[in-house]
């Protein structure tokens, strides 16, 4: 790309943790004025590489080069001093301090007698935001900022420290479409100012949209560094997984049966209003919409996590009581929640206990839980879902994101539900596991399950759903059959540009 030496580079870097070789002989060049993508599945070594660049880990072999000269980062502080900044998926700001104070934490401009010069603080922050082309109030507290805004604050902090290398570790995972767009424009601005950017994302379309070149890792090894212009998404996936994926969206055709889940005029004041739909046996219905449109909230109400003010939820014609997950489960509903770490799993708990948690009643022999039954059930599901683990007595926290999600799925499928609600089933999951989850959902629907899938991943919605329900500001804005569902029709409804056509 550029003739000048890279600002930051790795040469033949290897790193091992105990017996595991996280990185082997990996080289990487980050040039000023370029956005470089780093691709690879979970466990490919991306995070280790980022941590070496950020000075968190030191390489066992190989060198880190700064402006062409070897540098030894002894800690994150060294890397920061050298102008390397990392923006994480979920930044940690001081919630009670203002945006400006967060940015200049520890380096506040001083007035006389050591007081903080608020005027200078404010104008410096406003200047940074202007450079980034975003509008944020420097004086507002960090509490309540969206994750997207928090990331912008982190980026501003990095720029204020004259960072020349910006590493963005899956910054878009929790962002909505608009927010991603804004982040990208900030990234492009920085690129045009001569910064070197490293961008990590599981979403291939983002990599293709934003970056010039891509470095792919697999099993800790460098597979290729190449311009994205010459690649197709399929090429990239193949480099990441090392084999051809049959298809990312293996949707089987099914004939829907009876309505298993009927939601009628469901309303929770201020959250969602008058939501009616049904999901039939054998059907995958997607619930699409922008983040904050109320999709997860509807799912939570249906499952009984939250109460609702009006309307009804019926499973096979039987009305469910309000606000009882236990009753919803007994009626045959399962909910794979949005937040795997908080809601889906007990992270400290073992794999087998997590899987058994939803079916404690059926694991009983007399009054006592049968450990054998518990383990057998977990082992069955581990095999069925091709879970990668070393022992069923390991904490789920040690599994990769994709495998954690498989445990959540196992936990819920073992209740033998007739209605499966999945909320963002593949968020933060590598592409190989993603295809597996999709195949599983498709098979389950073919077996007669009613599947309600909430997803912000538009290709997933279009690829998997028989029908797409689109929510906009707490209301159902449209119901679009598979044949008519396109990015345009779904986005139009999600952004409120079309009114609801049918119920």
């Amino acid at each position: 790309m550029s003739e000048s030496p890279p600002i930051l580079a790795l040469r033949g870097v290897s790193k091992a943790f105990g017996a595991v070789r996280a990185l082997q002989d990996v080289s990487l060049d980050l040039h000023g004025g370029e956005i470089h993508a780093l691709a690879g599945e979970n466990g490919a070594g991306k995070s280790t590489l980022v941590k070496i660049l950020a000075g968190v880990h030191r390489p066992d072999e190989g060198q880190v080069l700064l402006d062409g000269r070897p540098r030894d980062f002894r800690g994150p502080g060294d890397a920061q001093q050298a102008g390397v900044a990392v923006i994480y998926q979920e930044p940690t700001l001081f919630p009670d301090l203002s945006v400006a104070e967060n940015i200049f934490m520890g380096r506040q401009p001083r007035a006389r007698f050591g007081r903080i010069d608020r005027g200078a603080l404010r104008s410096a922050t406003a200047g940074l935001f202007e450079r980034l082309g975003v509008s944020l109030d420097p004086d507002r507290p960090a509490r309540g900022l969206s994750i997207a805004d928090q990331q912008i604050v982190e980026i501003a902090k990095a720029i204020s420290r004259d960072a020349r290398v910006l590493i963005m570790d899956e910054p878009t995972a929790a962002l909505s479409g608009n927010e991603v767009g804004r982040l990208f424009s900030v990234a492009r601005t920085l690129r045009d100012h001569g910064c070197a950017l490293l961008f990590i994302s599981h979403r291939l379309e983002e990599i293709f949209e934003l970056c010039h070149r891509v470095t792919t890792l697999r099993d800790g090894r460098l597979i290729a560094t190449e311009p994205l212009d010459d690649l197709t998404p399929d090429d990239l996936v193949q480099r990441m997984v090392g084999r051809e994926l049959d298809t990312l969206y293996p949707k089987q055709d099914t004939t829907p049966g009876d309505a298993l889940l009927t939601v009628a005029r469901l309303t929770r004041e201020g959250v969602f209003t008058d939501v009616s739909f049904e999901v039939r046996a054998g059907e995958i219905v997607a619930l699409a919409g922008l983040v904050g449109a109320g999709r997860s909230e509807v799912a939570r109400a249906v499952f009984g996590i939250d109460r609702y003010d009006a309307g009804a939820v019926e499973v096979r014609g039987t009305r469910l009581p309000v606000g009882s997950p236990t009753a919803a489960m007994a009626a045959g509903i399962a909910l794979v929640p949005e937040d795997r770490r908080q809601q889906g799993l007990v992270m400290d708990g073992t794999i087998e206990r997590n899987i058994g948690l939803t079916t404690l009643r059926t694991l009983r022999r007399g009054p006592v839980i049968s450990r054998k039954a518990e383990r057998d059930r977990a082992a069955d599901w581990a095999i069925r879902l091709q879970l990668k683990y070393s022992r069923l007595s390991d904490a789920v926290g040690v599994l990769s994101g994709g495998n954690q999600q498989k445990v959540v799925l196992a936990k819920w499928l073992s209740t033998e539900p007739s209605v499966l609600i999945v909320d963002e089933p593949t968020r933060g999951i590598d592409v190989g596991t993603k295809a597996e989850v999709h195949r599983l959902l498709s098979e389950l629907a073919a077996d007669g399950l009613a599947v309600l899938m909430i997803s912000s991943d538009l290709p997933e919605v279009l690829g998997m759903a028989d029908r797409v329900l689109v929510m906009h500001e707490g209301r159902l804005a449209a119901e679009i059959p598979r044949a008519e569902a396109t990015e345009e029709t779904v986005m139009a409804a999600a952004t409120g540009r079309t009114r609801r056509e049918a119920a």
Binding site: G43, H57, P367, G401
Partner: protein
Amino acid sequence: MAPDASVKTASAAAPVTATPRVGRLVRWDVIVTALLIVVFIGGALGTPDFATGDNLSFALDDLCEIALIALPMTLLVVVGEVDLSVASALGMSSALLGALWDAGWAIETIVPLLIVVGAVTGLVNGLLVTRLGLPSLAVTIGTLTLYRGLAYVVLGTKAVAEFPQNYADLATGTVPGTPIPYPFALFIVLAIITAVVLHATGAGRAMFAIGAQEEAAFFAGIRVKRIKLLLFVVSGVVSAFAGVIYTLRYGSARADNGLGLELAVIAAVLLGGVDFDGGRGTLGGVVAGVLLIGLLRNLLMLRDVATEIQSIVTGLLLIVSVLTPRIVAGVREARRHPRGSMSASSQ
């Protein structure tokens, strides 16, 4: 191949993050049990009157209220709650027993009534925690003073004595042929039941899940509030019954009976390796913790150590038992690589 990468990740991370936790628990139990043996042998060698059947019976009898209340307390701490009002509930039960006995009621009528009163004290705690969402630490500090206050309202500062001999015998006598007092035999039976509930039943699985990740437990259909409420009620009932034993053992009903006992109970539970943040612990550890506290109290008493020093020892044990696992974990953390270097953050 992708699966290979994942397998490596899982198997690599497992020994790093999972084993120390399990290892820590096992080792903590072992440490406490070892300490128990050391204290026992040390006591037997250094204090002449210690290792006699009579003294050990007395020590166990003296320990039984702490031991009994430690059982529901263990379950509460496992689900991430705590009940500081137990000693006051005990005192209130004692005061009521005295007042009603004084008024001519039969013990057979009073005890069931006290059980009901105990259930109500627990219910109040439980409802405040589960319905209003208040932290149990704050709620039960409140009811700690409330119930103690009610005890004084009931009995004032007087003491009621002269309870029927057959009941006093039940509180101090030993199971024939053993040095085990009846109240402690009750503890053994209840400890076995509690151990089974905690470690082998669905309810126990649910309790650990609640303590470790309450939201995930709720999402899994576990009736979190109902379980917590029930545990507070059990805690109240056991405390009230412990009040009966206490009163009969000392032959004296007073409003200030069992003052400060809650700290010994919590010290025993934490010393037994139950994580104060919930989600982790074993009942075996708690039994060892209870016995250790009991032996220490007995030894200090035999050596005529002032009660002030005794409470200092209890306090130090409390701090040490909370601190040690954390220091050990911290040292481990520092020694190994930052957690989840490959798996946790790369998604």
